[in-house]
Amino acid sequence: MSTPSSTQPRITSVAEVKAALGDRLVDSFHKDDLWLRVRTDAWKASMRTLRDTLGFHYFCFLSAIDWMPSPYGRGEDDPTEPTPERDMTIRPGYAGGATRLQVFARVANPVTHVGVTVKVDVDDSAPVLESIHDVYAGANWHEREAHEMFGIKFDGHPDLRNIYLPSDFEGHPLRKDFPLLARMVKPWPGIVDVEPLPGGDEAASGEEQ
């Protein structure tokens, strides 16, 4: 089925975004989608420009990424063995990055249906970022979620209460150095031969593999 909207380009040209954002744009990456990275101190101003100048009125989501590889791997270590060596170098994703923690948001243009992912570095030792809840009202809850899950503070947010976790919960569960406790107290049954089935001998437990 063909409609006028489906014939429009799917991706905003990088040049157009660069012209609008100017030196606030640090880096960009263009594949079948568009990734931008903006300066930390210009986060809110950049989002406002994206909304007002480029017409990205639709707020999709805001979240964060912890680029540090997990010190616990995938939680499949044998607890009786010494912890294996892991490559702990922090490698950033598309559009680069200089910090371990990054906030990223996706906004879209409801007329051209073009979307863009915007990333911003946040300082690891004191992760603080301007709140964009007065640019995109929907960011309010997403920032609360990022606050409790990653420990990133959003300056100017009216109400950074936890959404999911109890108010006295300690730690930030989606950070990579927060252990998945279920995997710590009991080995993952998906690993080969960690735990024989109750009452079964070795042959029975090996059979499922």
Partner: protein, 394 residues
């Protein structure tokens, strides 16, 4: 103080005090006493365990705040320790009424990173099952809508007719609620014999169901007066809050990801219509969903005629490693835009999965939307926004 301690948790206390200060100003004028109304966590209007705390002035809501998290399962964290094929088992349970639709965007994201595409037959079957999940999901909404307004009959009709769709999903996938049928590179299995004819008959029944609901509910005077002009969301507010799906189209935004995004699915092969409504009120949201169910039956009917022969699974390695990269794929799920931002490090499992679920955004508008409405309208507005708790809490 006792109210603060008993009804509100620590988290709400601050906001409560602020609202009370606002109330006291209001109460001097109107000489009424404010009260706090707690709805839920267990309430038929909440489809699970959502709790709404509302400060009232007489019959009017001064301040309302949903309190979620009773069902938070931490799928984003769990996905980091699962392999790609294992993740679909988890994400099936996000929107439990339209499970198959949850699997599709994640699988598409993984396929995008691997630069493979499912065979054409698999794409068609995926689209059919996707639309069947939509029908199963939205038909429950249409029946449930009546219950919120005191009409009992529609829900019986809805449960009866939804059963036909669930039976179809079961006979094709083996699971009524959690199919776990989508695989990277295609589908687990082909369709069983006789399924196509059976589906055609069910689609005819479902169109009858839509007509029946329209007769019973949408033409009803009480229904109209309870929903028309109630809970109006203007276009700009809807966009800012990231409302999606029928809620967005009810505010006059002509945007459907099935039509407007290029995805390796079969929606562009058939003729159907994207409905919008200019009003943005509860009635508009319900009406859009009714029309969408009709369109879905049409999509399924046409796809059944067009479905090509061939394999349902592409050639993929037995142990799936997804190359390094980042991908965002979202689809038009029954509740709205659902998407996965998948970050891969070339490992067996994803490095980070951000799950963008529709209900989280759809419900985040409630503090804005419920301010100033009357108590009985809370229930109809919540019902018309239509959320699934699993889809908010993930």
């Amino acid at each position: 103080m006792s109210i603060t301690e008993n009804v509100l948790g620590d988290r709400q206390r601050l906001a409560y005090i602020a609202s009370q200060a606002a109330d006291s100003r209001l109460n001097v004028e109107l000489e009424t006493e404010g009260m706090t109304l707690n709805i839920g966590p267990q309430h038929p209007a909440t489809h699970g365990t959502l709790r709404i705390i509302a400060r009232l002035d007489g019959e009017q809501v001064v301040w309302a705040e949903p309190s979620c998290g009773y069902m938070h399962r931490g799928y984003e964290k769990l996905a980091e320790v699962r392999t790609y094929p294992q993740v679909t088992t988890l994400i099936n349970r996000i929107d439990w009424l339209g499970s198959f639709a949850n699997e599709v965007p994640f699988i598409l994201a993984a396929e995008k990173l691997m630069e493979i595409e499912a065979p054409v037959r698999a794409q068609y079957i995926r689209t059919i099952l996707f639309e069947l999940s939509r029908i199963a999901n939205v038909s429950l909404f249409l029946g449930d809508l009546g219950v919120q307004l005191g009409a009992i009959t529609p829900v019986f009709i809805a449960f009866r007719d939804r059963e036909y769709v669930l039976n179809l999903i079961e006979s094709a996938t083996g699971g009524r609620f959690h199919p776990n049928f989508d695989r990277i590179g295609g589908l687990k299995d082909d369709l069983p014999a006789g399924w196509v004819d059976e589906t055609r008959a069910v689609m005819k029944k479902l169109r009858g169901f839509c007509d029946q609901i329209e007769d019973l509910l949408f033409g009803n005077e009480i229904f109209q007066s309870r929903t028309r002009g109630i809970g109006v969301v203007p276009r700009d507010v809807a966009l800012q809050y990231g409302l999606s799906g029928a809620n967005l189209r009810a505010s006059g935004v002509d945007w459907d990801l099935r039509r407007d995004h290029k995805l390796p699915m079969a929606w562009d092969k058939v003729d159907w219509k994207v409905w919008t409504h200019p009003d943005g009120d509860s009635f508009a949201r319900c009406w859009i969903r009714l029309q969408e169910t009709r369109e879905s039956t049409k999509i399924v009917d046409q796809l059944l005629d067009l479905i090509p022969a061939g394999p349902v699974m592409a050639k993929v390695p037995k142990i799936i490693k997804v190359p390094e990269g980042e991908a965002w794929v979202s689809t038009e799920n029954p509740l709205g835009e659902m998407g996965y931002y998948v970050v891969s490090r070339g490992d067996l499992g994803p490095f980070r999965v951000k799950i963008r679920s529709a209900s989280f955004n759809n419900i985040s508008i409630t503090p804005w939307l419920l301010r100033g409405v009357y108590v009985p309208d809370i229930v109809t507005i919540l019902a018309s926004l239509y959320f699934i708790l699993g889809d908010i809490d993930r």
